[in-house]
């Protein structure tokens, strides 16, 4: 599904490794009956190859692609470096899993939410839309954050930010003043 971050992972790896592939998008609110023969719970992403082998779970699919296809290796060769990447992923998943209230600290906005926000605001500006199924908690959090007066007052204008990025990646020293009128 075009907006699912988990499926997005797999598409990133396919592209990074230059793997020829076809994409079939699934309507997650109205799944075709046949899709349950691909995944017992109808989740995405699922890989299917010409031998009819099915691989699911985004992280497993990504590792499979790295192992099965030649070219640039995305996971490092060194076992310790590989382990480090996997430990970092566990940390990331824990962040997503730590949420059982609207905000990360409870029912009201608090320090941890402000500490996380700048990165999520930038992701939002880049236009990564929410996934309908996988991270409703994060979507609710983003919406709730945007209602906070402090967050609101400091929201970056999307066009100005993109203008800055554009100049920044060109190493243009005027990048930092982009959008200022005087």
């Amino acid at each position: 599904m075009r907006f699912c971050p988990y499926a997005h992972r797999t598409r990133l790896v396919l592209r990074a490794k230059g793997i020829r592939h076809e994409v079939i998008n699934i309507n997650l609110r109205n799944k075709p009956e046949w899709y349950y023969t691909k995944h017992p719970f109808g989740q995405i992403p699922v890989l299917e190859n010409s031998k009819c082998q099915l691989i699911y779970e985004s992280v497993i699919a990504c590792e499979y692609l790295d192992d099965a296809y030649p070219g640039r290796k995305l996971y490092p060769y060194d076992p310790y470096e590989r382990a480090r990447q996997k430990m970092l992923l566990e940390l990331f998943c824990k962040i997503l899993g730590y949420q059982n209230t609207i905000f990360f600290g409870g029912d009201c906005i608090s320090m941890i939410d402000y500490l996380f926000w700048p990165w999520f605001e930038r992701l939002d500006v880049y236009g990564i839309a929410d996934c309908l199924n996988h991270t409703p908690a994060l979507r609710l959090w983003t919406a709730a954050m945007k209602q906070d007066p402090t967050v609101c007052a400091l929201l970056i204008d999307k066009n100005i930010f993109l203008g800055f990025l554009n100049l920044y990646f060109q190493n243009n020293p005027d990048a930092f003043d982009y959008g200022l009128t005087c």
Partner: protein, 241 residues
């Protein structure tokens, strides 16, 4: 290879020195099923190692420098590199050390082992919940959930038509899920595999494996540990020593 039956280190203990060359250290706890995964792989691959047991009810302050989450198992090598999360430690050992590969080389077969691992993922917390159950109503509900999860594993063995989860010989996935099956007998949950005959046969086959049988915990000791652990006793981790 030393330390498996050593008293655990607790708060106030001195941090251990660096790991000697040619050895890898595992921070463990004698009754932890997650740590048992790592010990099984160390044994199966014949990797020279030393064990430091940690008192999980009274953790040494220095242990959080080894793993910020304060959990076992953690691997430390002579270069001071630290690896934690039981599944990650097992995969690291298989990649880093020579000898018999526990994970298959074939990418699809390897992915299959990881998918089975996901299928198993609800079992540890169900078994822990069962251990902590307050009354008989909880008991039935939990048993039912456990049956459901175990049936998924039975289906894998039925579809594969092999003795073990990775084929006809024992491999990584079998070691990763084994420790909780060892607990079934002690927790009087053996009837949960009554409807899963292939799983029952797998359990028997596992007990024949040299690494598994070398690391089997005596049911009485496990029961003793459970009792003390549920009472939050700092003596739990050293039960029987």
């Amino acid at each position: 290879m030393s330390g498996g039956s050593a008293r655990s280190l607790a708060k106030g203990s001195a941090p251990p020195g660096p790991v000697p060359e040619g050895l890898i250290r595992v921070y463990s706890m004698r009754f932890c099923p997650f740590a048992q995964r790592t010990l099984l792989v160390l044994k199966a691959k014949g990797i020279r190692h030393e064990i430091i047991n940690i008192n999980l009810k009274n953790k040494p302050e220095w242990f959080f420098k080894k793993n910020p989450f304060g959990l076992v198992p953690v691997l430390e090598n002579s270069q001071g590199q630290l690896i934690y999360d039981s599944a990650i430690t097992c995969e690291y050992l298989d990649e880093e050390y020579p000898g018999k590969k526990l994970l298959p080389d074939d990418p699809y077969e390897k992915a299959c082992q990881k998918m089975v691992f996901e299928l198993f993922s609800k079992v540890p917390s169900l078994v822990t919940s069962f251990l902590r159950r307050q009354n008989e109503e909880d008991c039935y509900g939990l048993k039912e959930e456990l049956w459901k999860e175990l049936s998924k594993l039975e289906e894998v063995l039925t579809n594969k038509k092999t003795t073990f989860f990775g084929g006809n010989s024992l491999s990584m996935i079998d070691y990763l899920i084994w420790p909780w099956f060892e607990w079934l007998e002690v927790l009087e949950l053996n009837d949960c595999v009554d409807h899963t005959p292939k799983l029952k046969l797998w359990m028997a086959a596992m007990r024949e494996d040299p690494a598994v049988s070398a690391l089997l915990t005596e049911p009485k000791a496990l029961r003793g540990f459970f009792n003390l652990y549920l009472q939050n006793s700092p003596e739990a981790c050293d039960y029987g020593l």
